[in-house]
């Protein structure tokens, strides 16, 4: 048993490297070196029960890889994922892993690819129930599927249809129903609304909030959309090139961002209120993650970069705002006010 304020999920020094070298023969012929993509390179975070942590960042920052590491689709190169006090990598038997596994589920980005096109909705939603043998009586399973479909705003009659008969938003509801069917406590949501239209996105975000309240769910939410993250999260982690640069309460991050990259991201959001807020032009692009800059990976785009930033990787420290920030400028107090 874990203490009451212990995190439900924690990542400890989580890293995942991919070998993206060309085939052996080509390397031997051209003398090309081995190439390693450090998609995630030492990430630490904790999620408390009932809380939503969002990871936000631009493409290639490693946020989706973190999601896949947490649910076990990838094995970490270093570090570990701890679920309710249990180190996932240390689970010896398949049965033990399965018992933990049914306590978390995942919702994917593409509602057109995440449902097997040849299965009927009823079978899709019931899959976790059948896989973990949570129920055996077909009538009971059927009743549970109907209940789940109603819970996500579909009708029990939809059970006998195929995924292609539904719109993107409805398919995402089916995905959510499937994720909920094993009564999980923790959901990993990888860009669940980025393929949807805004009005449908609002429906899904509202549904996710309602379900969280009703079922006491804990979310790890992956998104590139800061406005969505602002709406859904309790805490936010900003990622850049495989590392967390700033983690903190949603209010702190949005009101008093510390890391220059967080500030840059916030500045880049289109101004929907049309307040005439002046915008700092953002320079540069994300570098190639196979060959990241030395020192702080953000230094080539950072207006505050010094020699130290170009040499030394900054460590995460708690800033005066309460957020955890990995930045030499913040640590040295060189940060200009905003």
């Amino acid at each position: 048993m874990s203490p009451p304020d212990a995190p439900l999920v924690a990542a400890r020094g989580l890293a995942r490297h991919f070998d993206v070298s060309r085939p052996l023969l080509n390397r031997l012929l051209d003398g090309a070196p081995r190439q390693v993509l450090r998609a995630v390179d030492g990430v630490d975070f904790e999620i408390r029960k009932g809380e939503t942590l969002s990871l936000v960042g631009e493409s290639g920052c490693g946020k989706s890889t973190v999601a896949r590491l947490v649910v076990g689709l990838y094995r970490p190169t270093r570090g570990s994922v701890v679920f309710d006090g249990t180190d996932m990598a240390a689970l010896a038997s398949r049965a033990a892993a399965e018992r933990v596994r049914r306590r978390f589920q995942m919702i994917f980005q593409d509602p057109y690819a995440s449902l097997n096109p040849r299965w009927r909705v009823g079978r899709i939603v019931a899959e976790p129930i059948v896989a973990h043998a949570l129920m055996s009586d077909p009538a009971a399973i059927r009743a549970r599927v109907d209940e789940l479909l109603l819970q996500v705003g579909l009708s029990p009659a939809d059970r006998d249809k195929f995924p292609h008969e539904f719109s993107g938003g409805q398919r995402q509801r089916i995905s959510i129903a499937r994720a909920l069917s094993s009564n999980p406590e923790f959901l990993v949501c990888d860009e669940p609304t980025s393929a949807l239209d805004v009005s449908v996105q609002a429906q899904i975000l509202n549904l996710m909030k309602d379900l969280q309240r009703a079922l006491g769910l804990t979310y790890l939410f992956i998104s590139h959309n800061l406005a969505v993250v602002h709406y859904i999260s309790d805490r936010v982690g900003v990622m850049y090139l495989g590392r967390l640069v700033e983690t903190g309460d949603v209010k702190t991050i949005f009101a008093r961002p510390q890391h220059p990259y967080t500030r840059m991201l916030l500045d880049a959001i289109p101004d929907l209120e049309m307040s005439g807020r002046p915008r700092t032009p953002v320079a540069g692009e994300v570098p190639n993650p196979i060959d990241p800059p030395p020192g702080c990976a953000f230094h080539p785009r950072c207006p505050l970069a010094t020699d130290r930033c170009r040499r030394e990787v900054p460590l995460a420290r708690v800033a005066p705002t309460g957020a955890t920030v990995a930045c030499h400028a913040v640590e040295e107090g060189r940060l200009p006010p905003r």
Binding site: E58, S199, A202, Q203, L265, A268, P270, D271, L272, V282
Partner: protein
């Protein structure tokens, strides 16, 4: 429309149809709007609203079997919707430039970007190879590509996504067109790059006096860039007016719902406004106003008659709430 009321582009009662085995689908239905010289008109809507189809009809690149089934499109008072293919090809490029969502499909991977730029310039402007190359380098500098003299001889795959979109913009501008149709130009890009591209399009249009029809699903991009905005729903214009009016005090219930459903950083809300249901499919557009089944304020007439856009102080709104007798 600018001060003297000149119009660069006029679209009158445009109708785009897709003949299919199960009957004819109407993708764009009776759409009318103008763009003044140098103006940025945003066209916004959710997928399937007909916004991209409207753009494609204007540049004459409707994918068959789609076809213009009615109405007319005038550029500088000249009809361009019924031009033969060769003539339209000359209008496109010379008078109308195009920017698409995916910069990779707009560039030929087998040629250097310089060759593609020079070819376009020589085709449309009275210029020799050398002068065209100079102009190409100038354009690349204009769109913010560093070391343009060197980069001009690179192939598309040697550029990053954001840089590629800049090249596409340079290509669209290369013959100094009067209108650019940009279909989701920032959708495939990261937020920080998105902001750069929007700033770039705005600056270039100001400098070159080019008008832009900006098709996007992103209200934020519209709010940042457009002078006027047309909101499309199920193939028709629901509301068209100055961007400030549409964004801040939307009149059409659909626009209102759409604006409310966008999460905003400036405000903390417990719940987003949501419009229940989904946009109807083209083969099942309801009678009357296409939005009526999802509209909280629908009344009898909405379910019978289809509203046409009507003047509502400065904007045009297709909604019976603003009809006579209300």
């Amino acid at each position: 429309m600018d001060a003297n009321g000149t119009k660069l582009l006029e679209v009158r009662n445009l109708r785009v149809e897709f003949p299919s085995r199960r009957g004819t689908l109407v993708a764009v239905d009776d759409v009318s709007f103008d763009i003044a010289p140098g103006e940025v008109l945003g066209v916004v809507g959710e997928s399937g609203a007909g916004k991209s189809m409207t753009g494609a009809a204007i540049i004459g690149l409707l994918e068959p079997p789609g076809r213009i089934a009615g109405g007319e499109i005038l550029l500088d008072g000249q009809r361009i919707d019924n031009l033969p293919y060769e003539k339209m090809r000359r209008v496109r490029g010379r008078q109308i430039g195009a920017i698409f969502q995916d910069p990779l499909t707009a560039l030929n991977p087998l040629y250097t970007i310089g060759r593609q730029l020079v070819e376009t310039i020589v085709t449309h402007l009275d210029m020799g190879e050398r002068a065209a190359r100079d102009r190409a380098i100038q354009l690349l500098q204009d769109v913010g590509i560093p070391a343009a003299e060197r980069r001009i001889d690179h192939y598309p795959h040697q550029f990053s996504g954001g840089m590629r979109q800049r090249v596409v913009i340079a290509l669209a501008l290369s013959a100094n067109p009067r209108l650019i149709v940009a279909d989701e130009p920032t959708t495939a890009l990261d937020v920080s790059i998105q902001a750069q591209i929007i700033t770039l399009i705005k600056r270039l249009c100001r400098e070159h006096g080019t008008a832009v029809m900006l098709v996007t699903h992103d209200m934020g991009v519209i709010a940042e860039t457009a002078d006027r905005v047309a909101v499309m729903y199920a193939g028709r214009i629901a509301e068209i007016g100055p961007v400030r009016d549409v964004v801040r005090r939307a009149r059409h219930p659909y626009t209102e719902g759409l604006m409310g459903s966008i999460p905003k950083i400036g405000e903390t809300v417990g719940r987003l406004t949501q419009i229940d249901g989904a946009m109807p499919r083209l083969d099942a557009i309801p009678r009357g106003c296409a939005f009526n089944p999802r509209c909280a304020r629908a009344f009898g007439r909405c379910r019978i008659d289809r509203p046409d856009p009507m003047d509502v102080d400065g904007a045009r709104v297709a909604c019976w709430l603003y009809g006579e007798g209300r």
